[in-house]
């Protein structure tokens, strides 16, 4: 079977499922962030694949670029929040954090 749109979509749904699994099960906040990055990458593969196989021009690739920019902003903000959590609680186990302040 020749590699086509379906193959890329299947790879991206695997990445999406793994990212979701990491978000659900991991306790460390940074590992949850890694799960979010996996999900964003899965979405990006879909955008670029449909841009290639759907004759939609370069719009899909451009949206993928915007997603990458948003991911950078999101990672910076999330890391700042994680550092604040670490300063306040002394750990980053998100299942034990139930207060916004001490």
């Amino acid at each position: 079977m020749e590699v086509g749109l379906t193959h890329y979509l299947v790879v991206s749904s695997f990445l999406f499922a793994f990212g979701l699994y990491a978000i659900i099960t991991r306790k460390n906040a940074i590992l949850v962030l890694m799960g979010v990055e996996l999900v964003l990458n899965a979405a990006n593969i879909n955008f670029v694949a449909f841009s290639r196989y759907g004759n939609l021009g370069l719009n899909g690739q451009l949206i993928a670029l915007f997603v990458i920019i948003l991911a950078a902003a999101e990672a910076a903000i999330a890391l700042a929040i994680v550092l604040n959590i670490y300063k306040t609680f002394g750990h980053v186990n998100i299942d034990e954090i139930d207060n916004l302040k001490e």
Partner: protein
């Protein structure tokens, strides 16, 4: 099997196997380095899809920026020299069932849909077309994203440096 198929399966295997290692590794630093391999594999897939600029941006922003940021986060919040980094998983079995059902549904939908495939002509280099789109159709989004990134970085810096009174 053409050479294109072979390279696709190579990059897909790199992506998926290292993603499995990211979510199953016991050591958080190892997870971060497997994530590097995942991003690299995804950027290879972009090249195969004819998106050269997106692939280079993926490497520069994800591997050069986001991954370094994550590694800094790991090193600032965990005691690396101490072997017992508390990680652990919670609710593994329900998560596997839920994610497995979701994955099965997604894959079966993708396999059973008759996609209307119309190959687009990919130009020799995409940066010309992307740049043109950025300053014509998407100029508002482009400017807004620039402002958003600036605000986010300033906010992150001021939030991370806040001292406790």
């Amino acid at each position: 099997m053409t050479i294109y198929d072979f390279i696709f399966y190579l990059f897909a295997a790199i992506t998926i196997l290292s993603a499995i290692m990211v979510i199953s590794s016991e050591n958080i630093v190892r997870s971060a380095f497997y994530l590097l391999a995942t991003f690299f594999g995804v950027s290879g897939l972009y090249v195969l899809l004819g998106a050269d600029f997106v692939a280079v941006t993926q490497i520069m922003v994800y591997i050069g920026g986001i991954l370094i940021l994550l590694l800094f986060g790991v090193m600032l919040t965990s005691n690396i020299t101490h072997v017992e980094i508390r990680k652990g998983f919670s609710k593994v079995l329900p998560a596997i069932v839920a994610v497995g059902v979701l994955l099965g549904a997604l894959v079966s939908v993708i396999m059973n849909t008759r996609w209307k495939i119309e190959l687009s002509k990919i130009p020799e280099t995409t940066s010309y077309g992307l740049g043109k789109l950025l300053i014509t159709d998407y100029v508002l989004i482009f400017e807004l994203l620039g402002i958003l990134l600036l605000i986010a970085l300033i906010g992150a810096a001021s939030m991370a440096r806040r001292e406790k009174e």
